[in-house]
């Protein structure tokens, strides 16, 4: 027992969890607000899941915004039409996103590189047009409003109210912890290591006897599921779901977060990237209404000068060789 505790304390994930546990109390001192913390956690879930495809399998997907949106709309429809609650609508978000992810993955699993990117862009755009046109499910241009943050808990035992933003923060925090541990386990499992083998050399992995298309399909589906959960949480955070939620820029945002933080070199990159990105967005969008100009230039700056992401500064040697976990 003692050994386990000390192992947990030495684990870097533990300190990430501690940091986010106290974040809402630090935020007001640095000019932040709790909602920003909620957003960081939601996008961190999204980006961590996305990195299964991008960082670990090496597939440049530019379409995960679609699954984020599917999660949001599935939650909205479930909660407003069928079952009032939190867990089942969130689960619906995950299941639907995973389903559509699996469907798209059928088309793209045998591809890589440029073809993969082109196809994911095109498919995500298709989802966007559908969400724009399918009024009865997505509310079309108006979106769906009136999503409630209801109490969660075990009936009869305890109940936790999430309508207040600080409470909702800890609800999201709980899910973030679960997802981060889950993804950590996935990437360190034999399955995760196979994904990395595909990233380094797909032909070699194939020759050893791995069905690489299946592994890629699985990674894509899993990451879509995490995107769906994040999308559902995002709809809860905003009490609404709009078509904008699956706009192409969202796919670019999550990609940039992973890259900016250093998702190609470290497990923690996506978390850092989500935080830095959202803080920068808040900072610049208060300064100028033309935030997209700065945003665009910022992307170009990151790609040209720090393509390996912020965390690569701290591990110059290993950074060049890809993800740390692979070397342990």
């Amino acid at each position: 027992m003692k050994k386990m505790v000390s192992a947990a304390i030495r684990h870097p994930l533990f300190w990430v969890f501690v940091f986010f546990l106290f974040l809402p109390y630090i935020l007001p001192f640095v000019g932040g607000y709790t909602y920003l913390g909620v957003e960081v956690l939601i996008w961190a879930i999204f980006a961590l899941g996305f990195n299964l495809v991008l960082g670990y399998t090496g597939l440049p997907s530019f379409g995960h915004g679609a699954f984020f949106g599917v999660g949001a709309f599935a939650l909205a429809n479930m909660q407003l039409r069928l079952i009032k609650g939190m867990w089942i609508p969130l689960l619906a978000g995950v299941v639907f996103a995973a389903f559509f992810g699996a469907l798209v993955a059928l088309f793209v699993a045998k591809k890589r590189g440029i073809y993969f990117a082109l196809l994911t862009i095109a498919f995500s755009q298709m989802f966007w047009f559908i969400s724009w046109g399918w009024d009865s499910v997505t509310g079309g241009e108006d979106g769906i409003a009136g999503i409630d943050r209801l109490p969660v808990g075990i009936p009869g035992l305890f109940s936790f109210d999430t309508s207040e933003i600080l409470h909702f923060y800890y609800f999201v925090y709980f899910l973030f912890v679960v997802c981060a541990i889950l993804i950590w386990i996935i990437v360190h499992s034999p399955f995760g290591r196979t994904l990395q083998a595909i990233r380094f050399n797909e032909t070699r992995a194939k020759c050893i006897g791995y069905n690489t298309a299946f592994y890629k399909w699985m990674a894509f589906t899993l990451s879509a599921a995490f995107a769906g959960l994040a999308g559902g949480l995002y709809a809860l955070a905003r009490n609404a779901a709009f078509s904008d939620i699956m706009h192409w820029t969202q796919s670019g945002n999550v990609l940039l977060m992973v890259l900016l933080g250093g998702g190609l070199t470290s497990f923690f990159g996506p978390i850092l990237g989500a935080a830095v990105f959202l803080v920068l967005r808040d900072l610049f969008s208060t300064l100028t209404e033309h935030w997209y100009l700065i945003y665009g230039l910022l992307i170009m700056f990151v790609i040209v000068f720090i393509p390996e992401g912020i965390l690569s500064f701290f591990k110059k040697e290993e950074g060049k060789r890809g993800l740390l976990v692979f070397r342990k």
Binding site: P60, F107, I114, L118, F129, L256, G296, I299, M300, P307
Partner: protein, 290 residues
């Protein structure tokens, strides 16, 4: 049920749109083939072409604007290339994100200069109004556009197939190391190709301007069909892009008549079907891009 006459008109509309899509996709594919960069900025350069036309046409007239605007856009491409060249030879992700960033920045610059409102611009006088073939009334400008787009496609083909420059570009797309070994300045060649591809986007923007509503987001409306066309036709295939463009244009045009709300989705469905049957597209060959 729509009448046969209506059907003919929509078919013709689709054909014209298809030629335009093919022209946009060709410039996009030129850059994709030679530099292995998915140029997300291609759409916004198309939009810049239209905006240049919007500003220049009242001052200098249609023909000079048709010449000058693509040159401006081409120069924008040449400048952009200085950033994009940092991504050559790396994961396609980097080039994609880089041009995604520049597309965003360039779109915002449009908003700053021309504001976010939409504009429309009339067809030039000599092709204004309809043309009459028996019972059919058809817009003269659309026919003019089709002819112009077809001419540009043929000129691009002649340039690539019949000139020594074209030979170098094609060689660069299949084996850039060998091209360099033969003593050709690869850096300069790529710079030039990026400028040329951008100029093609610009000229497509100028001729599309009277049909399209000119607004900052028009770039996205042009780049998405280009993606689909290239996937359908097969990466690296010239005639694949032309056939793909026509197919996308025609299914879009015809579906406007039957199910107007779904007209923007049908091209993706077409793409999905074709990718299922022919994973490399209609005329694509196995290449380093996979």
């Amino acid at each position: 049920m729509p009448s046969f006459l209506e059907f003919q008109t929509q078919l013709l509309n689709g054909f014209v749109l298809g030629l335009l899509y093919a022209l946009i996709a060709l410039g996009f594919m030129l850059i994709l083939g030679v530099m292995e960069v998915i140029n997300f900025s291609h759409g916004i350069l198309f939009a810049w072409g239209a905006y240049f036309a919007l500003t220049l046409r009242p001052i200098v007239g249609f023909w000079p604007a048709l010449l000058i605007s693509p040159i401006f856009v081409g120069f924008m491409g040449l400048i952009l290339e200085f950033a994009v060249r940092r991504s050559y030879g790396k994961d396609p992700l980097f080039g994609l994100l880089l041009t995604f960033g520049s597309a965003m920045a360039l779109e915002e610059v449009i908003r700053i200069i021309w504001s976010a409102t939409g504009y429309s611009i009339a067809a030039p006088k000599f092709v204004a109004g309809p043309i009459v073939f028996g019972p059919i009334f058809y817009s003269k400008y659309r026919l003019f556009l089709a002819a112009l787009a077809a001419l540009l496609i043929v000129l691009t083909w002649l340039f690539l197939e019949k000139t020594p420059y074209g030979a170098v570009i094609k060689a660069g797309a299949s084996d850039s190391e060998m091209v360099m070994a033969l003593g050709i300045d690869l850096k300069k060649m790529r710079w030039f190709v990026f400028g040329l591809g951008s100029a093609l986007a610009g000229i497509a923007g100028v001729i599309a301007a009277p049909l399209w509503s000119i607004k900052p987001t028009m770039g996205l409306e042009a780049i998405m069909p280009a993606f689909v066309v290239v996937v359908i036709g097969g990466v690296g295939s010239f005639w694949g892009a032309v056939i793909g463009g026509l197919m996308v244009g025609i299914v879009t045009g015809v579906s406007v008549m039957f199910m107007p709300r779904t007209s923007q989705i049908v091209m993706y469905i077409l793409m999905a079907i074709i990718v299922l049957i022919r994973p490399r597209g209609l005329m694509g060959e196995k290449s380093i891009l996979e």
